[in-house]
Symmetry: C2
Subunit: 216 residues, 2 copies
């Protein structure tokens, strides 16, 4: 079984990549996207993890045109401040990037069909539920209903972490010997993690909740 995993270089997708390779024993392909994100530094961490995981192929896709199409997201537009964790606890916070995940998944579907890949793993998890409609189970289900119409190849989108908390993902990753010092979460993408953006705070909370300390 050939599986493609969307790997951002953060905790969730890195853990998922190790899980699919080591637990599910799939032949893996990996794909990452440079989309003009202010934290493009995450790609360095994705590359590090990809080197460890030895996929059949690893693609870094440059869709930096994206930043010319999208104006109103703090993850792309540096004139918009990254919000605090508290300000991001609502549906569709300013860190939401319109339809970004569908773009990632569509490109992944193209690549998968062309390479006879059977399934695509997507690291949506439960705590993204609040803010991001495209990280929810019904989003994944409807996308599968769409792709099931393809008469040539039925590629399944799978999101095994969609009902898990980030702390549970971290616990699983520790079992799988994932080195979290080689993952990147901070939205700001500066030399060191800022420790105050929503993504840094979620990371810290996950490690605390899991009874672990982030070594970073």
């Amino acid at each position: 079984m050939r599986s493609l995993i969307l790997l951002s270089g953060g905790i969730d997708s890195t853990t998922l990549s190790h899980y699919v390779k080591k637990k599910l024993k799939r032949e893996i392909y990996l794909i990452s996207f440079f989309y003009g994100q202010r934290h493009s530094k995450e790609i360095e961490y994705a590359t590090y993890q990809a080197n460890l995981l030895e996929p059949i192929e690893y693609k870094i896709v440059d869709i930096s045109f994206f930043s010319n199409l999208i104006k109103n997201s703090a993850l792309i537009n540096k004139d918009i401040n990254v919000p605090t964790w508290k300000d991001a606890q609502k549906e569709m916070p300013i860190t939401y990037v319109p339809f970004r995940n569908l773009v990632f998944l569509s490109i992944s579907l193209s690549y998968a069909e062309s390479n006879d890949i059977d399934e695509i793993y997507y690291a949506a998890q439960r705590q993204d539920y609040i803010g991001y409609w495209d990280c929810r189970e019904d989003f994944v289900n409807r996308l599968n209903e769409l792709t099931s119409l393809n008469p040539k190849k039925k590629i399944k989108i799978l999101a095994p972490f969609v009902n898990m908390r980030k702390s549970e993902i971290v616990k699983l990753g520790i079992e799988l010997r994932v080195d979290y010092t080689k993952t990147w979460s901070c939205y700001k993408g500066e030399n060191e993690p800022c420790k105050i953006c929503p993504s840094c705070v979620d990371r810290k909370k996950a490690f605390l909740e899991a009874g672990l300390y982030d070594i970073e």
Copy 2:
């Protein structure tokens, strides 16, 4: 009402663009894709039509990375011969590009949401039904079911030509004074249309069926 139209520079999408602007009287945005297609010449024609149509904005999106992800399509890979019309009369012919239309539509959705655009027009038509699953009504319906989950903005994908024959589209376009000498259909993308590829033959048939002669 703000509307975005996917414009390839061919007959269907050019007619649709004129229709949405002149008949439906929408404020229009246009988007074209350079995806490494062998007939990228179509973009010149799209640009010509866009200049006539005076949209609020016209975006040409360069996703030529696409040709590195996809191998098995005659529209991208020049080592694969463009088939004859007869060889293309089947489901998923060699001119099919895996998930290309979903990639186009996803990027269009990103752009639309970011620009507060209400609807996206997609020039799928009935004769593409045979070969291309992503030109069918159920594809459009399922994509709408997916996008309807977006809590921020409900963007509708509309395909008003989905049950029309190409000859009917041409007749409509003549009423709308579309200049078809300034559209491009040939898959080969050489200096002159080849007249034998599936797209050239479909074009010729449409004009004959409409009782018109293609002036090209």
